[in-house]
């Protein structure tokens, strides 16, 4: 038979020792990704449950933080990307639901705007507000690299993309941030004047 399974208590103790110190990091990232407090709370709780369920799959000695951040990213994508992609329908359905779609779009626009404002208020600084304007893909790599300090190799595994993609996304994300933060940055005198 396979190696002896740890008792539930032991499993739980091990899991908590590894995972609980990361609550703030995971919550911060969830908040920056979802841009809403309630969604972030939900996401983090979900991540812990999933991580616990799959804890047997975690190989001891490897980077637990990277492992659980991968779960965070996957859960986020499954949940929120789906929302974004849903409106893609066949022509017929599009005609059928023309009015509801139009209404929905209006609401979405309102929500996005509303979220951005709220999000800016959440952190109260221009840098995080600019971060919130990036697309999910770009935002994720900046958070993982510059805030959470993961290496390219780790980021590549977390988001499931080649290292080259990580690097080019980071480059482009930082260029966009430069644009968003131009005024702010010029005040601080850190960005070239024109581009």
């Amino acid at each position: 038979m396979a190696r002896k399974k740890p008792s539930p208590e032991e499993r739980r103790r091990k899991f908590e020792a590894l995972a609980f110190p990361l609550v703030d990091a995971l919550y911060g990232t969830a908040l920056r990704m979802t841009r809403r407090r309630l969604d972030a709370e939900d996401l983090v709780q979900d991540v812990y449950l999933r991580a616990y369920r799959f804890f047997d799959k975690f190989e001891e000695g490897t980077n637990f933080k990277a492992w659980i951040f991968k779960i965070l990213t996957n859960t986020f994508i499954n949940r929120y990307r789906k929302k974004v992609r849903e409106p893609q329908q066949t022509e017929f359905e599009r005609v059928e639901y023309f009015y509801t779609e139009a209404e929905k779009e209006r609401d979405d626009k309102y929500e996005t705007h509303y979220d951005e404002q709220r999000y800016a208020g959440l952190f109260g600084d221009e840098v995080n507000a600019a971060l919130g304007k990036l697309s999910y893909d770009f935002r994720a790599v900046v958070i993982l690299c510059d805030i959470e300090g993961f290496s390219y190799k780790e980021i590549a595994r977390i988001i499931g993309a080649p290292i080259g993609t990580v690097m080019s996304r980071l480059s482009r994300a930082r260029q966009q941030l430069q644009n968003y933060l131009r005024d702010y940055a010029q005040r601080q005198g850190i960005v070239k004047k024109s581009r």
């Binding site: 539930p8 739980r12 899991f15 609980f20 609550v23 703030d24 990091a25 995971l26 919550y27 911060g28 908040l31 709370e41 983090v44 709780q45 812990y48 449950l49 616990y52 369920r53 952190f123 600084d125 840098v127 995080n128 971060l131 900046v142 690299c145 510059d146 805030i147 290496s151 390219y152 290292i163 690097m167 080019s168 980071l170 480059s171 930082r174 260029q175 941030l177 430069q178 933060l181 940055a185 601080q188 850190i190 960005v191 070239k192």
Partner: protein
């Protein structure tokens, strides 16, 4: 922008993040010495990186999030762990486990015949019934509901007879010959004597009189 710049630009992030290997770093730094544009870009990226890092201030997760995580894990361990243990029991000790199930089934069968409620006991478990009388208008419960929700839909089965009392409560009628007789008197006021199942708002008609 010349073509070598284009190649270098793609590597600037890696250069800033110290993710390039030594030969790559050499190529990039040599280029940066000769090209003010790319050098500026590298400085800008570094500054942005620093800016993000400085403003990354951690946001502590609210206490209730931590509490909820613990609660869910507890639930998970109890819920999942319990069935997992049962499964293990069947895998490791199939004969005693199956024997135990058989004994339990026999026992529960015996218990059931003594303990399970009879028909009338079950009726009383719905809050019981009382012998009594009600007065009200004879209506069709389905028509009434459809009117309330204001849909043009017409229910297809026959009318479901009920009685609306003055207090606004609607009693449905248990189907019987007596209740059938009532269905021909729609919108009439009626007095019904019978058993009232209060919680279910059903009446078993014993006698009725139009008033």
């Amino acid at each position: 922008m010349t073509s070598p710049c284009k190649q270098i630009q793609e590597q600037i992030a890696g250069y800033v993040d110290r993710e390039l290997d030594t030969p790559q770093v050499n190529v990039v730094s040599r280029h940066l010495q000769d090209c003010p544009g790319c050098a500026e870009e590298a400085t800008a990226q570094q500054k942005i990186k620093d800016l993000v890092r400085e403003n990354a201030g951690s946001i502590p997760a609210p206490a209730h999030v931590r509490a909820e995580i613990r609660r869910r894990l507890d639930q998970e361990i109890f819920g999942f762990g319990f069935w997992e243990q049962i499964r293990q029991l069947f895998l490791l000790q199939p004969v005693p486990a199956i024997a135990a199930v058989v004994v339990l089934m026999l026992l529960s069968g015996l218990t059931a015949s003594f303990v399970l409620p009879t028909q009338s006991q079950r009726a009383s478990s719905y809050g019981g019934f009382v012998a009594g009388s009600i007065e009200g208008e004879i209506i069709c419960v389905d028509c009434d509901l459809l009117e309330i929700v204001a849909t043009p839909y017409i229910h297809d089965a026959g009318h479901r007879v009920g009685v609306r009392c003055q207090d606004g409560h609607v009693w449905s009628l248990l189907r019987s010959e007596k209740s059938q007789a009532l269905s021909t008197n729609m919108r009439r006021r009626v007095r019904i004597v019978g058993r009232l199942f209060e919680q279910m708002q059903y009446v078993e008609v014993k006698e009725f009189s139009l008033i």
